[in-house]
Symmetry: D2
Subunit: 359 residues, 4 copies
């Protein structure tokens, strides 16, 4: 129900932080698609913890292993330990997994009955009962963005062949907008046993006008539905977003102009553009031909060493809790590729829907 999204480019993310593996099953990749595994690897590496002194101590290679749906090679555990550089999609669903090797479940033992503030623990206790897998955050772990990045990374490669690029970056961390100060904010939080949140901005260039399905499958609906699948996202806005709520129509409306139209095919419609992009590339749920621009707000990492109040659900006693284990003081930078992945997968699916009408 929950872990699947998309109509044509449709994928299901599965796994838990400390299960044997996490992974993704993707339907709708055209047969013959050549997946560049090296680039996919590099893309995944951007979300991997353990990249800088500020981030979590858990280091994993996170090599995706393609166990189904490709013909010519699967990275990771191939027989001769030599890694394939490409995989050719054969037309059946593609399944890739990442093995969970470096887990220390005992770190989580005391948390089984004491919900961590800001985490899904309590809600999951109610929903899943004793059966829930709490280790490492289970299915709610930030680690689940790795399979999202596999699905989105492949979508990015497919989009790129259409001249579409997806690019996100952190534009605010811990209240700071200057990159250097962002790092300081993280360092300070770490030192204090605390954490910081931030905002990721994503820009998609090269999207033709007219993509998206009005009302509930518009470009905004779909990106939002996917982006809220990334742990810690608490808000999303397109173009001027919340700021436009304070503007007048005459300020916010982006006037239409006529561009030169480099590849002028005589079609006036192809030369229309807007002056300004308060609308963030989406009008009425359809793309306008301008860059799609959106921002996602991330709350600070809920796992902190600082003492917090909670309840021991066995006894009903109120307790204080200091979350141990390896936790990033800031997941915002690691979330950047996940935001790109969510946007790319959403957009590619809508393009496929659009293409289904072509004659």
């Amino acid at each position: 129900m929950s872990n699947t999204i998309g109509n044509i480019y449709r994928f299901t993310i599965w796994g838990q932080s400390h299960a044997p593996a996490i992974g993704v099953t993707i339907e709708g990749i055209p047969a013959g698609t050549v997946i560049d595994l090296d680039r996919l690897q590099n893309f995944l590496a951007r979300r991997r913890p353990g990249q800088d002194p500020y981030s979590t101590g858990r280091k994993e290679e996170d090599l995706p292993e393609f166990i189904a749906g490709v013909k010519c090679g699967h990275s990771g555990e191939s027989a001769d330990k030599e890694q394939a550089h490409t995989a050719v999609v054969c037309g059946s669903p593609v399944t890739a997994l990442i093995r969970n090797t470096n887990t220390r479940s005992s770190d989580y033992d005391e948390l089984k009955y004491i919900p961590r503030p800001g985490h899904a623990d309590y809600a999951a206790m109610v929903r899943f009962g004793e059966a829930r897998d709490h280790s490492g955050g289970g299915q709610f772990s930030g680690r689940m963005t790795a399979p999202l990045c596999i699905a989105g990374g492949i979508a990015m490669q497919l989009l790129e062949q259409m001249g579409i690029t997806v690019s996100a970056r952190a534009v605010m961390i811990g209240g700071e907008t200057d990159p250097e100060r962002m790092l300081q904010a993280i360092e300070t939080a770490k030192a204090e046993g605390d954490s910081v949140g931030g905002i990721v901005e994503c820009v998609i260039d090269g999207v033709p006008a007219g993509i998206g399905e009005p009302m509930f499958d518009g470009i905004e609906n779909r990106i939002a539905a996917t982006v809220f699948g990334i742990p810690a996202v608490k808000g999303i806005e397109f173009g001027a977003g919340f700021a436009c709520a304070g503007m007048k129509g005459s300020e916010n409306n982006d006037p239409f102009i006529l561009t030169d139209g480099g590849n002028d095919d005589g079609d006036i419609l192809n030369r229309v553009a807007t002056c300004g992009n308060n609308h963030g590339g989406s009008l009425g749920g359809l793309t306008s031909g301008m860059p799609i621009v959106f921002r996602a707000a991330f709350k600070p990492t809920p796992s902190i060493a600082k003492e917090q109040r909670s309840v021991d659900t066995r006894t009903g006693e109120e307790v204080t809790l200091s979350v141990k284990g390896r936790h990033d003081p800031c997941i915002v930078r690691m979330a950047v590729p996940a935001v790109e992945a969510a946007a790319a997968a959403s957009l590619y699916d809508l393009i496929r829907l659009y293409e289904s009408e072509e004659r």
Copy 2:
């Protein structure tokens, strides 16, 4: 593809502003459900234009006519012109329509080839070509929130029987947060031939913990996907939302406490609550038992009398445009019930999914 949402409580919105009718077809209402048509009517009346001096001149009764799926009465055109007060759902899909009676399509004639800034016009021209229905905004009209309110209004009645209430209000209009000043901002905009946007906040009380499906069908994903179906929405945030991006974890995390538990059934889990609600009632996509709180940002009405730049897509000439016709200088207050409707329909569907597990 586009106008349908929901898994079990699933509905399709159809129609255009100046088509013979707009309406909605709803699957998944349990047989035997008694729809209170008077309350539904009152709910719809809240979104109707023409309610106050600041809003559009178009006045329509917007009586929903139930033409399928109910047994005991359909409002509107019953044989004896006497209006039924209730309708009993018989177990087949429910279809309700609202006839479009008060339309002045000629107001839109000049707009067929000149896209209005801030509107879907240009994107729709590209997507649908000559066939698009531009009159009155066609399928992109704010009028399409009426069928959404039918689907959502019925969901609200169903939720109420579970003790769940959904309540939204405008918390900002034209930069103002004081209700009186909001009205002034609208009046000023109207006088200037301009428009204003705003922010609607929605609170859902009485939701049990554990509702929602992790990852892509969480309470946030679903509400976001539905709310972005309301025209003019450009952002959504839950709980502290964008503000939490600037907080520390120790500030943002809502500590768990033990409440008295009025209806104490001995289950400690039922007595756990949070102190504060920065998380807006959602943790990991599941409800926490705290009120669900979200805010949606509305851009200012794009149709304004003030002159704006656009392009005549027949000739390629840049032109200036003053949008005539009856346009609200602010659609935010009219959008309030639509926000409630979107939230209620999303939540009710997730509750049904949850219920499917009960033994």
Copy 3:
């Protein structure tokens, strides 16, 4: 949940036999599609009761009224009572309804608590309780094939533009395979207050190879899922069907041969065909380029004048029942266009999925 089918060409059928209307809402018709309303009318007329002396006395025009999704004309109730001959799809969902005018609900009064053998009555009593709409069969009425024929009739027009034709006919009625004897069988059954069933065969010509999605969205799965939506269908088989269960592989396998390839583009694949069509145009769920051939088995009309045993569910008494009202002694011929409609809608949706991959 129940009344919707399709991924891209997706439609929801709604209504009950004695509700104000029955109808269909269709998503996924490309904007600009011109619906030939006269041909659609003629297609619908083929399923209409009251066409010959053997069929039910209920006569209705069954004119579909397009109330949404089309721009240029809607048949039925246009302002000047002059009927439009075409409708142009504008890109939003298309809704067409047929008003129920000629209903005599009192015919059904005694049946409210006494389930008719062979009908859905008893199952619906259990499922929907007192709220079920039993008049005229409610949502289970054969009349519900009219909206299916609207959706399928439009699909047939879209397929025809691709050179694909869908054609069904009754190949057996009441055990007879000769057309004249089929009529006699119906007449005999009518005279006896009884009814007969039959088999409808459908052939789809002009389908390119490779359409369909392996495993659960193959051409067979989809056609079967849709055809079982036609009341009274109890079986379906493709190609040699049940007969092939008794063949040897060497008999059943259709050998591949090379055809001349009239429109020879040098591609050998386009010139491959099979010798024989035991496979009914489907191999592994994908079309083979040969005609799709399937047969659907219809049980005899359950409503008969002859006395049958049933139970009065109020008192628990076993009673005898003679079903009054206007009932066809054979619905097979009326079902023929419904079978075509089901096949066409299924196939067109799969073609759209296929097209989504084209570059």
Copy 4:
């Protein structure tokens, strides 16, 4: 698109015969469900090739390895090689895989460009081009019923807790209905380098009345859509099926009677049954409370040693082909558990939909 089925109990089957693995990802298993792995294993063993002298030489253990979604144990490759006997579902999607170990791809080399009569080869060449995975039948292999059996086997365990049993058996093979003669027919076919088909009948006992969603998600539609996902199925019929097409209504209709009602709760509806089961447990798409009975027709195995005509698609030459490799002369008995699996998964999903209405 293609390999996923179900609304709530939804699963995606993935893999190819000679990929590293085949498997299934299942959403919608209630958290806390205890999967009996030994029984699942035994169920899978029933479909495994290599069980008797008549079947293929390929022997594999086909141990399913649960790599996600369960907490307490995964069979197959656990660290200490000791096999867990149960797995507890934790509330996230369950992924189980079966490694492909015993593959001899070279057997298939010559078949890459010469489509085997009766196989999906040619259709897949057209659809997937050079990228298709032809080894071992790729995604069209009968081996893909193993993951179906995992999904269906779990559904069977869940149904059993509700008192519902699913049981299928071969009722005809090679034209013979006597078990001993069935075996002879297989042996004869094998000796001749030929193959035989057959018919599998499935009976589901203990299903309450009222399950299923009218029109397109009825019990017949769903079972048919799933059963056609099993390779070689060419027809399906419920109850009297095709035979009822030759009956009169008075013969085919199953009269309603009143039973004693062992667990008499005073509800007359619970005591109603039918005399006879020509309707096969389904009326109007809803279950009637009688056993669900259906039959599926299987064509003879298309891979035969006997020479057949085909085309070399590289050269356009017509060639003769003798399919080498390990092929069963009859897949009907191996398909029996797959039929049970398809039925169980379909029914369990519909029961979940039904349950979603319960208060």
